[in-house]
C-alpha cells in the first residue's frame, strides 16, 4: 500500500429523503436523530413515519453523550481511507436517547477502552469525505458537557 500517495476517501453515504434532516444538521455542526412527534420514540433508522405508532417524525438534537455498547480495534487496514491510522478503535455507542451509532473513538488504540465507557460525540470531516462523520471521545478526555434542563 502506498502510504505516500493521496489518502483515499472513505465510503460515502447515500442521503435519502428520510435521512436528509440528519445530514443537514451535521452540516450545521449539530447531531440530531429521528424522533416521533407523537409518541416521542427515538428511531435508530430515520423513517418518514414512526415504526411504533405511525406518527410523523422530525430530527431533534441529542445531548451528544452516550455509552460504549461494544467496540473493536481495527488492525488490518481493510478500509484504505484509514490505513495510516491502524490500530484504531471503532465504537458502537448507545446515545443516552437510545439509538446506537458506530464511529471512531478518536486518539485511541485499544488499551483502556472498555464497554460501558462514557463518551461524547462530535463531528469531523475525514479527508476526501463530502459529509461530516459522527465520532467520539472518552468523556474523561474532554470537558464534561453540561446537562440540559430536563
Amino acid at each position: 500500500m502506498n502510504r505516500t500517495g493521496p489518502v483515499p476517501a472513505p465510503p460515502a453515504p447515500l442521503i435519502d429523503t428520510d435521512s436528509a434532516g440528519f445530514w443537514e444538521a451535521t452540516r450545521e455542526g449539530r447531531i440530531a436523530l429521528c424522533r416521533c412527534s407523537d409518541c416521542g420514540a427515538w428511531l435508530a433508522r430515520p423513517l418518514e413515519r414512526c415504526s411504533s405508532c405511525g406518527g410523523p417524525t422530525s430530527f431533534t438534537d441529542v445531548t451528544g453523550t452516550g455509552t460504549v455498547y461494544s467496540f473493536i480495534v481495527v488492525h488490518h487496514a481493510s478500509v484504505p481511507a484509514f490505513a495510516a491510522l491502524v490500530p484504531y478503535v471503532l465504537a458502537l455507542v448507545e446515545f443516552d436517547e437510545g439509538p446506537r451509532l458506530p464511529g471512531m473513538l478518536l486518539d485511541e488504540q485499544g488499551p483502556g477502552v472498555a464497554i460501558g465507557q462514557r463518551v461524547s460525540a462530535e463531528l469531523t470531516q475525514f479527508t476526501g469525505a463530502e459529509e461530516r462523520a459522527v465520532v467520539y471521545r472518552r468523556v474523561n478526555d474532554v470537558e464534561q458537557p453540561s446537562v440540559p434542563d430536563a
Binding site: 465510503p11 453515504p13 433508522r45 473493536i72 488492525h75 481493510s78 464497554i115 459529509e131 465520532v135
Partner: protein
C-alpha cells in the same frame, strides 16, 4: 394446487480457489451440471432455478440457458449473503411442494477472492444506502468489523476468553485436514492461533473465513421422483428462519446473541427432534464468533459455554455432534454457506470418506450471522 413432498437429490460444485480465472456464470453452470449428473437428471429437465447474490454473480435465467434449460416455471434471484443460504433451499422445497416447478436447481457462484472481495472497504462506486449510510464515513463497512462487534459483546457478557474463539478455529481446521476439497488443511494449535496477527480485535487471522472463488449447486425435486433417482433422497424435517431488527448490524437488541436466538424457537417448534438428535451440524462460520453465538442460541450447548464445548471435544468426532466436518467457511472456503448443504448431504449419504461421521442421520445446517439467518434439519432416508 395439491402439495406433495420434496427432496434434495443432487449436489455439485467446482474446485474452490483464490483465482478461478472463470466467470461466476461458467462456474455456476459447471456446478449445476454436476449436481444434475449426481442426481441422474438431465439439464433440460430443470424448470426452476433459485440463487442468491450480492450483485456479484450470474442470474437464474442466465445459468439456466447456459445448461440448456430454456423454459423455467420459476426463476428467482435472491439478494443476500449468508443470511439467505437456508432461504433459497427452503424456497426450492416450497416451490416443488406447491407444484410451481418439478426440478429446481439452487446455486451460489462467486469470485469471492479474485473478484469482489467482502473483506475490502474501498469506497464503492455507489454511495451506501439504508442504514449503511451511517456506517460509511467511519469505514464500518466490512463483515469482520460487524461480527467482531458482536463477539466483543459476548466476551463482556459471558467472560469469554480469547482461547474460546481459538478452540473453534482449531477444531474446524482439524476437520478440514481430512477434506481434500478444503482450501486450508494445515493443522493449527493454540500457539498458532494466539500468535497470529490481529484483524480486528477480538478477531485474529484464524477467526476469519477464506475469501474463495467457486460455485455450489443443489437439485430439489419431488419425493416421488426422487425414489427412482441415483441416491437416496434427503428430506427437510425441521426449518426456522429469523430476519430481525430490520437487518441492523448496530441496533440488534442483545449482541451477545444473534438471529439464531429467534430462529431457534421456530426451528425446534417445527420438528419433534431436539439438539441432541443432531449427528452433524454445519454451522455458518464466516467468523468464529458466529459459531460461538449460534451453537449456543440453537441449543447445542448452554449460552456462554461454546468455548468449553469445543475445547472439550464435544463438537468433534466422539463428542455430542460433529460441527463442520468439512472445515466450514473458515477452512474449506467461503461459498457463502451453500457448501454447508453440500457437506450435510455427503454426510447423510455416507459418502464423506475419511471424515464420515458414523451413522449420520440428522444434519443441522445454519445460515447467516448477526440480525438475520436461518436453519434447517436434513434427514437421511437410509
Amino acid at each position: 394446487m395439491e402439495t406433495r413432498e420434496a427432496a434434495l437429490v443432487g449436489i455439485g460444485r467446482t474446485p474452490f480457489s483464490t483465482s478461478s480465472g472463470r466467470t461466476p456464470l461458467a462456474m455456476a453452470a459447471e456446478a449445476a451440471r454436476a449436481a444434475l449428473h449426481d442426481a441422474g437428471l438431465q439439464p433440460n429437465e430443470v424448470d426452476g432455478v433459485i440463487d442468491f447474490h450480492t450483485n456479484d454473480s450470474a442470474s437464474a435465467v442466465d445459468v439456466a440457458r447456459a445448461i440448456g434449460a430454456f423454459d423455467l416455471g420459476l426463476a428467482m434471484d435472491v439478494h443476500g449473503g449468508g443470511n439467505v443460504a437456508v432461504t433459497v433451499v427452503g424456497q426450492a422445497f416450497a416451490a416443488v411442494q406447491a407444484g410451481i416447478c418439478e426440478v429446481a436447481v439452487v446455486f451460489r457462484s462467486l469470485q469471492g477472492r479474485s473478484g469482489n472481495r467482502y473483506g475490502r472497504g474501498e469506497r464503492p462506486a455507489l454511495p451506501m444506502r439504508g442504514e449503511m449510510q451511517f456506517a460509511a464515513l467511519n469505514g464500518f463497512v466490512v463483515p469482520p468489523m460487524w461480527i467482531a462487534m458482536f463477539a466483543q459483546r459476548h466476551k463482556h457478557v459471558y467472560g469469554t476468553r480469547d482461547e474460546d474463539f481459538g478452540y473453534i478455529a482449531i477444531t474446524t481446521r482439524k476437520h478440514a485436514a481430512a477434506n481434500p476439497h478444503a482450501m486450508q488443511r494445515q493443522l493449527i494449535d493454540m500457539d498458532d492461533y494466539l500468535s497470529a496477527r490481529w484483524i480486528c480485535e477480538p478477531f485474529r487471522l484464524y477467526d476469519c473465513c477464506l475469501e474463495t472463488d467457486g460455485a455450489v449447486a443443489l437439485v430439489v425435486t419431488t419425493l416421488e421422483r426422487a425414489r427412482s433417482l441415483r441416491h437416496d433422497p434427503i428430506r427437510i424435517v425441521g426449518f426456522g428462519e429469523a430476519h430481525t431488527h430490520g437487518g441492523s448490524w448496530t441496533n440488534f437488541t442483545d449482541m451477545s446473541e444473534m438471529y439464531s436466538a429467534y430462529a431457534s424457537k421456530r426451528l425446534w417448534a417445527s420438528t419433534g427432534l431436539r439438539p441432541s438428535d443432531m449427528d452433524v451440524a454445519c454451522m455458518y462460520d464466516c467468523f468464529t464468533g458466529t459459531v460461538m453465538a449460534t451453537v449456543e442460541d440453537f441449543g447445542l450447548c448452554p449460552k456462554g459455554e461454546a468455548g468449553t464445548f469445543f475445547g472439550e471435544g464435544r463438537a468433534s468426532y466422539g463428542g455430542d455432534v460433529v460441527v463442520n466436518p468439512h472445515g466450514g467457511l473458515l477452512s474449506e472456503g467461503y461459498l457463502h454457506g451453500l457448501n454447508h448443504h453440500y457437506e450435510a448431504v455427503l454426510q447423510l449419504r455416507g459418502d464423506a470418506g475419511g471424515r464420515q461421521v458414523p451413522d449420520a442421520r440428522h444434519a443441522l445446517v445454519t445460515a447467516g450471522a448477526g440480525p438475520a439467518g436461518g436453519a434447517l434439519i436434513y434427514e437421511a432416508s437410509r
